[in-house]
């Protein structure tokens, strides 16, 4: 058990920082996912068939390919693509995007595909009357969206978004290819160094369970808060 202690010989402090990293990447990825969802959800619901196709391709492909492959493809293809684009503009220097950004965006892309589906489902289950009333009152389109539709959508979406959060949190265990030191990678390093995989992977499981437990508590609070007045 002393292997888990904090300090020089114990891995406790490394695992603590790794847990913080997992939380940081998960939150960042979730936010990046929202960013993608805010773009692709309107595309999905639009009347334009081409935009529909783009949005549907995004969600179908990302949700239909194993996360590990999406992460590999983004990691190996992403940097190259960005540098290619930059070179078109005449920027030939090496662009390094650090592991945190790479990992968060990779997971964010995945999280975004799920979030898009959740937002779409939520918007589609808002009573049509709300949309009509907003139109009739002559409210501008983007204010319609942000002040009327979005709050209702969020309330309906929160239970499913909590699932997306769970998925995002667990997917962070797959980004060791980027070299980012989160829970899984740190456990891997510790297990290799001490040749005690049972202890460290079991402890990693405990850490993830703790994060799941805390997330549930926080999300339940959010659900209560957003359901007020309905």
């Amino acid at each position: 058990m002393e292997l888990l202690s904090f300090g020089k010989t114990g891995w406790g402090d490394e695992l603590f920082y790794a847990t913080l990293m997992t939380i940081a990447v998960s939150i960042t990825a979730m936010l990046i996912g929202f960013f993608f969802a805010l773009i692709f959800t309107p595309l999905k619901l639009s009347n334009n068939k081409f935009l529909n196709f783009i949005a549907n391709s995004y969600t179908t492909v990302i949700r239909g390919v194993p996360e590990l492959l999406v992460i590999y493809l983004f990691f190996f293809g992403g940097s190259g693509a960005i540098m290619y684009v930059a070179s078109i503009f005449g920027y030939f220097e090496y662009i390094e995007i650090n592991a945190f950004i790479t990992g968060s965006v990779a997971i964010g892309i995945i999280s975004g595909a799920y979030s898009t589906e959740v937002f779409r489902g939520a918007i589609q289950s808002i009573d049509k009357g709300q949309f009509e009333a907003a139109k009739v009152l002559g409210i501008k389109k983007h204010i319609q969206f942000f002040k009327i539709i979005m709050p209702q959508m969020l309330r309906l979406a929160i239970p499913n978004l909590s699932n997306v959060w769970q998925i995002t949190l667990k997917d962070t265990s797959l980004i060791s290819v980027t070299g980012l030191v989160e829970i899984m990678r740190q456990s891997y390093i510790a297990a290799g160094s001490t040749r005690d995989p049972l202890l460290f992977y079991s402890f990693a499981a405990v850490l993830y369970l703790m994060l799941t437990f805390l997330s549930m508590k926080i999300i339940n609070r959010l659900e209560v808060k957003y359901s007020r007045g309905f």
Binding site: P66, L69, L73, G77, Q166, R195, Y208, L209, F213
Partner: protein, 224 residues
């Protein structure tokens, strides 16, 4: 873009797709039984039993599949005593370690799907059975279970696809599924983009087929 590489890696990847499908079907097969068992345990009146079932489901849904595989494969393999038991014959093989991990994982999700389906069966159906004088036990096995299974089809279809993606983690314990073979090809050609695109394409195709299969089954067996 090395298109010749993409073409030449296709047959190898397709061969590996068979491994992926084998892993998927065995995991789902055992997973359904585990899921049914734990769904029933969860609904038990005995609070100890239902808490135990909840605990199982919580642990396997609350931890990443990768951690589960590593604990079963490397963690159990570390225990000297375990290696002397007869179980080692099974756990020695990465193939069975992966299937056990996948089955336990999908079992947890399946149990949740079935449990919620059980709990949302229209009471009218059960009342009808009772009014016909059918015993509780038969109601359970001949009415509730089939109805619950039918109601679970959409959610379970989703679970099948999630599990298929999960099988890609078998590559982390030396198994040569699609992802494993893809990684192997990359390790000798150093062209990850082309190879992983092909692999991704194959998974996508399989997702497409499974998705349409489920849609077809849903239509065929819907009773609403």
């Amino acid at each position: 873009m090395d298109f010749t590489l993409m073409a030449s890696s296709l047959p190898k990847l397709l061969g590996a797709a068979i491994v992926t499908l084998k892993l998927l079907s065995l995991s789902l097969f055992f997973g359904i039984f585990i899921g049914l068992l734990f769904a029933i345990l969860r609904l038990s009146k005995n609070s100890l039993v239902s808490k135990f079932a909840y605990g199982y489901s919580y642990i396997f849904r609350g931890t990443p599949l990768l951690v589960q595989i590593f604990i079963i494969y490397y963690g159990l393999g570390q225990i000297e005593y375990f290696r002397t038991t007869f179980l080692w014959v099974i756990f020695k093989e990465p193939y069975w370690c992966a299937i056990i991990a996948f089955a336990l994982n999908t079992g947890a999700y399946t149990s949740e799907i079935l449990r919620s389906a059980f709990q949302t069966i229209k009471p009218g159906i059960i009342e009808a059975g009772k009014s016909l004088g059918i015993s509780n036990k038969i109601i359970f096995y001949k009415i509730q279970i089939p109805v619950a299974i039918r109601q679970s089809l959409p959610a379970y279809g989703n679970e099948i696809i999630l599990m298929m993606k999960g099988t890609s983690l078998a590559s982390t314990v030396t198994l040569m599924d699609i992802t494993g073979v893809a990684k192997h090809i990359v390790s000798t050609t150093y062209k990850p983009l082309e190879v992983f695109l092909m692999a991704g394409g194959i998974y996508l195709f399989m997702t497409f087929i499974i998705h349409n299969l489920i849609k077809y089954l849903e239509k065929k067996y819907s009773f609403q």
